[in-house]
Symmetry: C2
Amino acid sequence: MNNFTFYSPTEFVFGRETETQVGLLCKKYGASRVMLVYGGGSVVRSGLLDKVKQSLTEQDIAFCELGGVQPNPIDTKVYEGLELAKSFAPDFLLPVGGGSTIDTAKAIAAGYYYEGDFWDFYVTPARPTKALPLGVVLTIPAAGSEGSGNTVITNTKTHVKNGLRMPMLLRPKFAIMNPELTMTLPEWQTASGISDMIAHILERYLSNTPDVQIGDRLAEGMILAIMEEAEKVIANPKDYEARANIMWSGTIAHNDTCSLGRQEDWNSHAMEHEISAEYDVTHGAGLAVVFPAFLKYAANHNPHKVAQLAHRVFGVADSGDASADAHEGAKRFKTWLHDKLHLPVNFAQLGVPEPNIELMNTRLHKLKGEVLQGYMQLDADATKVIYEYCKE
Amino acid sequence: MNNFTFYSPTEFVFGRETETQVGLLCKKYGASRVMLVYGGGSVVRSGLLDKVKQSLTEQDIAFCELGGVQPNPIDTKVYEGLELAKSFAPDFLLPVGGGSTIDTAKAIAAGYYYEGDFWDFYVTPARPTKALPLGVVLTIPAAGSEGSGNTVITNTKTHVKNGLRMPMLLRPKFAIMNPELTMTLPEWQTASGISDMIAHILERYLSNTPDVQIGDRLAEGMILAIMEEAEKVIANPKDYEARANIMWSGTIAHNDTCSLGRQEDWNSHAMEHEISAEYDVTHGAGLAVVFPAFLKYAANHNPHKVAQLAHRVFGVADSGDASADAHEGAKRFKTWLHDKLHLPVNFAQLGVPEPNIELMNTRLHKLKGEVLQGYMQLDADATKVIYEYCKE
């Protein structure tokens, strides 16, 4: 086990009707001028945004609004937010929505005190030293951004989608999580979110760091719980209890609970980012295509953790042949994603019948280096094979 | 799943040689005058205390010292600490040791700004509204106090041992955790600590709140990991990796990671507190006696969670008879504690050949009420049966 720091200071306020506490929580964390950030659509239609505004008003908190954040959030919305922030001078940001909304707010938070271009933080070694604080009202369990210091933004000019990780600076002060708010999510979005959270766990799980038993067992327990509750929520979208289990799982999948002193991977995410940057597909759906392909490649080249996952989570009996067991585990996971979550598991199903693998692969290695480091060393030939597996 | 708040803001700095960062961390959290709290013995002999003092001095942090904290920490040491604090006027407390040392420091932290007797917080509805901040250098993984807002103190006059839980106020700002510091712990202390951390998980696991799948799976994963690593550490006390897994498990066993929206139990702890308050036994050893007895009683009266534990953790095949499976699970747990951890599992082995059950049971219900609420409703007859099982 490697040395590590675990720091998850977000106050999670979880359960029914918790959104009514948003004004009080903003006040508790020192807010007097709040910039609301949201997508639009359901947050407005459901009346949630009005409730949030009312709660702020009750606490005499002034606010301005940045609406219209889209999935796979883009730099131009961040620039718009930074402009608005310069004129309004907020002391607190309040995204109301899912990962895209929160990531946009984090980008604004990081860029607010910076004299250069916020995009520097995403593609150069420049890092923010100060940021606006933020709180979250979560409506889509998936990205885990409510409990992480991470943000991912796409550059509309270059089609580069990249992340920034600042666990100390960008973790939300609080996150309000009411599972009732997720009950109206369409199946597609629910399933994509579940795929995303399982991927967040697997990116940590796939590691060669030895002797991380506690992290492994926590990760396996999370995936077992998510799979069980996911089937319930797909069968009955109004199942509060299943929604609650899924919502909380999404948070701890990404707040480092199962990272714990190990080298992580994140190469499946990097490969998916190229797909969603080019074809604007839903991130979690893209992961449902990439991850089974990645696991299949790992089954051939470094099967030990995939085999362990197969034994402990996917019910594969230990045959003594790690590679064979890993292949069987990868297959079962793919089947589960397709049959139970109704997600696409190859390019054609994803709506990309003719993927430009050459283009994505070239961009991937331009951004991430000649050889991706992690659970496996992946040069351009290796990632090309994985992208090819995504056609199956 | 019930509504809940999860707030674990402690910065955990984990791994080899991390104790050298103590001065810097104290400074980061605003300390300029530190009161050191420790037991004595190994902390002094090992040179750890000197290292800590040197690190404080390097950061120009003044300090005073309160040594001599004993296991099952007592009120008189808290009064001594409060006196010392009044003259020295620290702005930060720094316990160096295990749960007893940390709990003593928390009691001083809570009592420092209070005009009344700090003991009020432990036995009356009075609660602190302000407390001195504290950081921790942990040397004994067991109590989980480094990541919790809990403190347990024994009143030397009344023999009452009771706890105070203030998750928002009393969580340490930071906890330095170097598994190397635990390598010299004798088997008895190591095993007792492991028993304590498993008990912390089970007190949360034994709950009638339905649909807490994610919490259940995390709890089960933790126990599986602890049992596997515990056997390694008993076999080889110098196994850094096993020590590391055990040390981190002790923290998350008690920082509410597996609490998650459910009613908890804690009646086994309450029953054990009567034993250690009267006979001054090691808390974790007392729990190794009480918990199997408690599970046996539960197997007769409310077996469902014990049966689930038996199936998922103790390898008991599902026979369709929850009570029978729960009995088998309780038996396997007891055997494991005895055979693998070499812990006492009944009063005689604990060194209490003639326990005064009447006395303990009367005090228990005087302190906790006529009927203990939780996973089961336990009146004096019920707890007497459990204490009787502790003889077996």
